[in-house]
């Protein structure tokens, strides 16, 4: 589904990714771990098409097409979703209207009619109850004044509504207490199936107790330096990243 070959990327002239390779297949959950500044969030932004990140070398393939040149919205129409580490506050735009616009713009791009209000409402009810979201919350301005937990739950709610094929979750666990973490992780596990793929980016092993990955990759200094199964995450939790740095040398 996603194949990244020797990806190099710069932001404001600074090299961040220095040759990332990654293959993600349908039905898989991948975790990407690494210390601060290693390039994890950059990878998420590049996959979703942020214009500030300049790909200088290498390729991104999604569903066998090269997507280097596609805009963020085109990638979204094609089924790529990123949950933001810091969801943006947008005063004056309600969660519901935002979701409606997102769903209908994707449908428009695919030549489909707009979703009927009734169908939309039904889907909103279904997905919000899954994430234990109060419907009052849906008429509030997007992320404005939301707590950290509410913002992250809202991200996963958007994912559930948009039903992407590839979901990249950037530090979805940061700022969550354990109860909120369980709700969010549960939402992700319910979403995950044989036809989609999830890439979880995280600092801590903690999240991976709830979102159980098939593969774990460690990024260090802009490269994937080690891949393994979930036991790798446990090892990092116990020993930190230093042993990997030494191993690399």
């Amino acid at each position: 589904m996603l194949e990244i070959n020797n990806l190099h990327c710069k932001i404001e002239g600074r090299s961040i990714l220095k040759g990332v390779n990654l293959k993600v297949k349908k039905g898989e959950i991948h975790a990407i771990m690494g210390p601060n500044g290693s390039g994890k969030s950059t990878l998420a932004n590049v996959i979703s098409g942020h214009e500030d990140y300049e790909v200088t070398k290498g390729n991104l393939y999604y569903k066998t097409n090269e997507i280097n040149e596609l805009s963020a919205s085109e990638r979204a129409h094609d089924g790529i979703f990123m949950s933001f580490q810091y969801p943006v506050e947008i005063p004056g735009l309600t969660v519901t209207n935002f979701i409606k616009a997102a769903i209908n713009e994707s449908r428009k791009a695919k030549g489909l009619d707009e979703m009927s209000s009734r169908e939309m409402l039904k889907k909103i009810r279904e997905k919000s109850s899954l994430l234990d979201i109060d419907t009052k919350f849906l008429s509030r301005s997007l992320n404005e004044g939301f707590s950290g937990g509410e913002k992250k739950r809202n991200e996963i709610f958007q994912m559930a509504m948009l039903e992407p094929e590839l979901a990249v979750l950037d530090e979805t666990d940061s700022g969550l207490d354990i109860d909120a973490l369980k709700i969010v992780a549960n939402g992700v596990m319910k979403f995950s199936n044989d036809d989609n793929a999830v890439v979880v980016i995280t600092h801590y092993q903690r999240l991976l107790d709830y979102i159980v990955p098939d593969f774990v990759h460690v990024i260090l200094d802009g490269k994937v330096i080690k891949s393994g199964d979930k036991s790798l995450a446990k090892k990092i939790e116990d020993k930190g990243y230093d042993w990997l740095k030494k191993e690399k040398k």
Binding site: S48, G49, H50, E51, D52, S71, A72, S73, R75, A76, H77, F81, M82, F84, P87, V88, I90, P91, G92, L93, N97, F98, K100, A101, A102, I103, N104, E105, S106, K108, A109, E114, S141, Q158, L162
Partner: protein
């Protein structure tokens, strides 16, 4: 001969058509004298520092047409708010069109100023209110006064309220290649009365038109006025809107100004407080492109205790458009416990667009709450990416952020049909079809 001289000379011809014995003719003559000595404002006037009328007044205009141009209902129907009948005062090239209008004298007067001037039963009201709130030092208002003949006349007696909003619509047909219009509106609200008014000026072809309009509003105790101005005219049209509001105790007046079109628009909006516990609301949304220029020049004169005023103006400027916001608040020594709020937020989307924003507070009382703030910025790039990443393309994402930015001006539009209409105008202006009601 320059245009000022033409205006002075043509007054003799104008006098042929009006009743020279009517008391308001004294006002006309005095106002003409003031205009003669003051002339058109220039950039050296502090209140006109950022707006020049030179491009407008260098040209010649046809003044005061006398016969109605023919337009049909189908040409203008789309500008009406409702399909069903509601009160409408429609003027075509400055002439009242009874055929397109719906007036009343049943319990209240929703009619035209020329009728109110000519009929003796209105003499007392005209004498009591006409030109009483218009300051003498604003020369464009003097010019309008000197040519007073036609406009809206609305009188809502004690405890009354028209069922529907009243629309005042001015169409300009292009029958004259260039035309200078000077409508004059008088609105008198007795105690406990209510009204909603929508005013719009619209050209039907791309000829030159300048409208120099004066509206006087008298809001007696505990009356309530919501006034909406839709400024979405063609790029060949300019508007100088002079609106003066006199408020008595416990009254509540709001004016919303939506400036989306036109070449040059100047809004002189003045509120004068005559009693306590008054509430005044001034809201504006300006979305400009090309070389459009809009200047909001406001004044709230707090003269009595325990009153509040709320000003909230938002602007979004593209291409080489220019905006001006000059918001004056005066708080007299007597006006203790005043609560005056003023906010002006702007987004510039290009390097060439420009906003001049100037809050001006003169406070002589010591126990008041006054706040003001202005911001100039761009659409948030990270917010745009957030929307893009959810599948909302660039143009639509910009539109959604614009709606979000403008939302607190839009949400206080209390007439549902009007609210929808304005959102549609904005969507059209931004070139998007979002397919749902925001």
């Amino acid at each position: 001969m320059d245009f000022k001289e033409k205006l002075l000379d043509s007054h003799l011809a104008f006098e042929q058509d009006v009743d020279l014995l009517h008391p308001i003719h004294d006002y006309r003559k005095k106002a003409l004298k003031r205009f003669e000595s003051d002339g058109f404002p220039t950039k050296s006037d502090e209140l006109w520092k950022y707006t020049s009328l030179a491009s407008i007044i260098q040209k010649d205009y046809h003044l005061s047409p006398t016969s109605e141009s023919n337009i049909e209902l189908k040409d203008v129907k789309k500008y009406f708010l409702n399909d069903i009948d509601s009160f409408k005062l429609v003027f075509v090239d400055g002439i009242f069109s009874p055929f397109l209008s719906k007036t009343t004298h049943d319990g209240m007067d929703i009619c035209v100023l020329s009728a109110a001037i000519s009929k003796s039963k209105y003499k007392k009201t005209i004498k009591k209110y006409f030109n009483k709130v218009v300051p003498e030092n604003e020369s464009l208002s003097s010019l309008n006064t000197s040519y007073t003949r036609e406009g809206a006349y609305i009188f809502i007696p004690k405890n009354m309220e028209p069922e529907d909003p009243i629309q005042i619509l001015h169409f300009s047909t292009g029958a004259q290649k260039s035309i200078w219009l000077q409508p004059r509106n008088l609105i008198v609200m007795e105690a406990n009365s209510n009204v909603q008014i929508i005013e719009r000026h619209q050209s039907l072809s791309d000829h030159k038109v300048v409208t120099n309009s004066v509206t006087e509003i008298y809001a007696d105790s505990n009356s309530h006025v919501d006034y909406y101005k839709i400024q979405n005219d063609l790029l060949t049209s300019s508007l100088i809107d002079n609106t003066f509001i006199s408020q008595e105790k416990d009254s509540n007046v709001s004016v919303h100004t939506f400036s989306l079109g036109g070449q040059l628009t100047r809004n002189n909006l003045r509120f004068y407080h005559k009693g306590s516990n008054i509430s005044s609301t001034l809201k504006g949304l300006t979305i400009l492109e090309a070389k459009q220029h809009v200047d909001h020049n406001t004044l709230v004169h707090h003269a009595k205790p325990n009153c509040e005023s709320h000003q909230d103006y938002k602007g979004i400027f593209s291409d080489s458009s220019v905006g001006v916001f000059n918001g004056r608040i005066i708080v007299e020594r007597e006006a203790q416990k005043t609560n005056a709020f003023q906010q002006n937020n702007n987004i510039l989307t290009t390097d060439k667009s420009k906003i001049n924003t100037k809050p001006q507070l003169e406070i002589f009382a010591d126990d008041v709450k006054c706040s003001h703030g202005c911001t100039i910025g761009q659409l948030d790039k990270q917010a745009l990416f957030y929307l893009n990443s959810r599948g909302i393309p660039e143009k639509e994402a910009r539109a959604l952020l614009t709606y979000g930015f403008a939302n607190n001006v839009l949400e206080s539009v209390k007439i549902p049909n009007l609210n929808k209409r304005i959102k549609k105008l904005i969507a059209y202006k931004l070139g998007v079809n979002l397919g749902f009601d925001l």
